[in-house]
């Protein structure tokens, strides 16, 4: 019986007069694949930042594996097993691509589990890059990250997540800016992660691709949760249709 590994309770965050996230709650079971959707500015990224510690909530709490992680520092949360990508791909522009992926291998989490072996890091990094679709025999993994095209940078984000060996992966608009081919190439990677037992949260605008993999969807609008359930059901809800398409009044 899968237990709830992530409990988000009544999170609130406002900036000045703007309520970015208002009273959002949900629970996540192990192995779930949650999609978070909503119009621009509905608070999706803020929600992710609140969960991963990059922004402190005004009120509310987040529990992971039973531990209270509300407002804890991002690196502590990452070490508990939550990895995330950034909406604006944050690579280490001056380092070669594969070195980007090495850095999480220094975290206490990875070092503990691997026994801290040196010298293997380069190989691990290049393997990970290959998994997300960097052509192995080309020079691409060695190129300076700042020179990589956008699609590669996004996949680099994903590889960096995977390097942490996380249990929960949160992807913030991973597919934005990617071509159809790149998305098609990345979906199997994500599906593989799911099969291997990771719990996934995906914020996306590309609903078609998202609904192929997610088993549950939450819709945010103006910072509030307006729907929560299986994709098909959610998209038929009045509130959701109104949020996306506008109503006739």
């Amino acid at each position: 019986m899968a237990d709830h590994i992530l409990k988000v309770q009544a999170l609130k965050k406002s900036y000045g007069g703007v309520q970015a996230v208002f009273d959002v709650s949900f629970d996540l079971k192990e192995g779930d694949f949650l999609g978070i959707i909503g119009p621009n500015g509905s608070g999706k990224s803020t929600l992710v930042n609140l969960i991963t510690g990059f922004v402190k909530p005004d009120s509310g709490s987040v529990f992971y594996m039973g531990k209270d992680i509300t407002g804890k520092r991002p690196y502590k949360i990452a070490n508990l097993g939550i990895a995330r990508t950034f909406q604006m791909a944050k690579a280490f522009h001056e380092l070669p691509a594969f070195k980007n992926v090495i850095i999480p291998l220094f975290s206490p989490r990875v070092r503990k589990s691997r026994g801290g072996q040196y010298g293997e890091r380069d190989d691990v990094a290049i393997d990970l890059l290959e998994e997300v679709g960097f052509e192995r025999d080309s020079a691409v993994p060695f190129k300076t990250a700042g020179n990589l095209p956008h699609g590669y940078l996004k996949r680099l984000e994903l590889a960096r997540c995977m390097a942490l060996r996380p249990d929960l992966i949160i992807m913030d608009e991973l597919f934005s800016g990617m071509s159809m081919a790149e998305v098609a190439g990345t979906l199997p990677v994500i599906e593989k992660l799911k099969v291997e037992g990771a719990t996934l949260i995906m914020i996306e605008h590309r609903l078609k691709e998202l609904f192929r993999v997610a088993n549950r969807v939450i819709v945010l609008n103006y910072g509030q949760k307006i729907a929560d359930g299986p994709p098909g059901e959610v998209m038929e809800t009045e509130a959701v249709k109104k949020a996306y398409l506008g109503s006739e009044e």
Binding site: Y75, A78, A83, F86, A91, E94, F106, R160
Partner: protein, 343 residues
């Protein structure tokens, strides 16, 4: 401005830069394949090492003293560069220098500790003290770090001046010296070489990789589960200790410590030297220092215009020649240029 395109008899040309053959041949293990390749790599380093070791033998006493100060500033520049490579912009090398100076001076003056012990003690304690002082700002944007490191030495000067502790305005004098000029010179030269090659080696390791990552994009490093504050504190300690080290050294070299230990010069000079030489490479810091310091010695005659000179030089370089002289030289050494016909 060097051209990168030209036209000649109707054909267009562009400039192309390629690595020299010997550079490619001396990459990694192949460096050992022949004496020529090995020499190519060893030559620049040998120049530095041998050059530094010979200098005290050929210079007279006055210029040897200049050499000593140059080495001191060089170490301050290296430490500045190191701290900058870890993502922190220090406007307070004077803080590290001054704290180290006073610690060594106080140990020697009040408790009679000999330089043999006061210098190492001042180095470690000085580095730790400065790190602790600055610790709270590590969480904020880099600009706050710059501001606090700038303000602290100046405030400390005022405090010492006003309250008269630690010798007040007169400072502490008649401190134990370092045996003789030869020992002084070679001691600091070895220290410089150790710091230079040590820092370079450190940044090449995976530890340095994390530091470089922090500078590049600290949030990404954090999301990878690494406590960036701990790493930053460590980098600050190492850089700060280097600064404290030379401060302590100078205290015994001059046999005196006073308010000038916290003077702005010890902040401005390292930055100016590093900027001119080229930031981020350590070699640039060394190069810049060994160009600027003897130069300012020659300019001693023009008094306070000296400071005007190197501060404006710094501004010009940071705007117009940001990569510094070293990158230019490095490029010349490793690459050659040629005109290539374009279709």
């Amino acid at each position: 401005m060097p051209r990168s395109h030209k036209e000649d008899k109707g054909s267009k040309y562009r400039k192309e830069r390629l690595d020299r053959g010997i550079k490619a041949r001396s990459d990694s293990i192949f460096a050992l394949s022949s004496y020529r390749e090995a020499l190519y790599l060893v030559f620049p380093r040998a120049v530095i090492i041998i050059g530094l070791l010979i200098l005290p033998l050929v210079l007279d006493e006055y210029w040897t003293k200049v050499l000593v100060i140059t080495c001191v500033i060089a170490i301050l520049s290296l430490s500045w560069d190191f701290i900058a490579l870890s993502g922190m912009l220090s406007l307070g090398q004077a803080l590290f220098f001054g704290v180290g100076s006073y610690l060594a001076g106080a140990l020697n003056h009040y408790w009679g500790v000999s330089p043999l012990f006061s210098i190492p003690l001042a180095t470690i304690v000085g580095g730790a003290l400065c790190t602790i002082l600055i610790l709270p700002v590590l969480r904020l944007r880099g600009i706050y770090f710059a501001m606090v490191t700038f303000v602290l030495p100046l405030i400390i000067i005022s405090i010492i001046e006003m309250s008269g502790v630690l010798g007040g305005v007169e400072g502490l004098s008649a401190l134990s010296p370092i045996p003789n000029l030869w020992v002084t010179a070679y001691f600091i030269i070895f220290a410089l070489l150790a710091f230079f090659f040590g820092f370079r080696r450190l940044m090449d390791t995976d530890y340095g990789l994390v530091l470089k990552g922090i500078r590049d994009n600290d949030q990404a490093v954090m999301s990878g589960g690494i406590n960036i504050y701990w790493y930053k504190a460590q980098a600050l300690f190492i850089g700060g200790a280097a600064g404290a080290f030379v401060g302590a050294f100078m205290t015994h070299h001059y046999r005196f410590v006073g308010l000038p230990a916290f003077s702005m010069d010890y902040t401005i000079l390292p930055i100016a030297c590093t900027v001119v030489g080229g930031t981020g490479t350590f070699a640039g810091a060394m190069l810049g220092t060994f160009i600027l310091m003897p130069l300012t010695e020659f300019l001693r005659a023009i008094g306070s215009w000296r400071v005007v000179f190197y501060s404006f030089l710094m501004v010009i370089f940071i705007i117009a020649v940001p990569e510094g002289i070293f990158h230019f030289l490095q490029r010349k050494y490793h690459q050659f240029e040629r005109w290539v016909k374009t279709e």
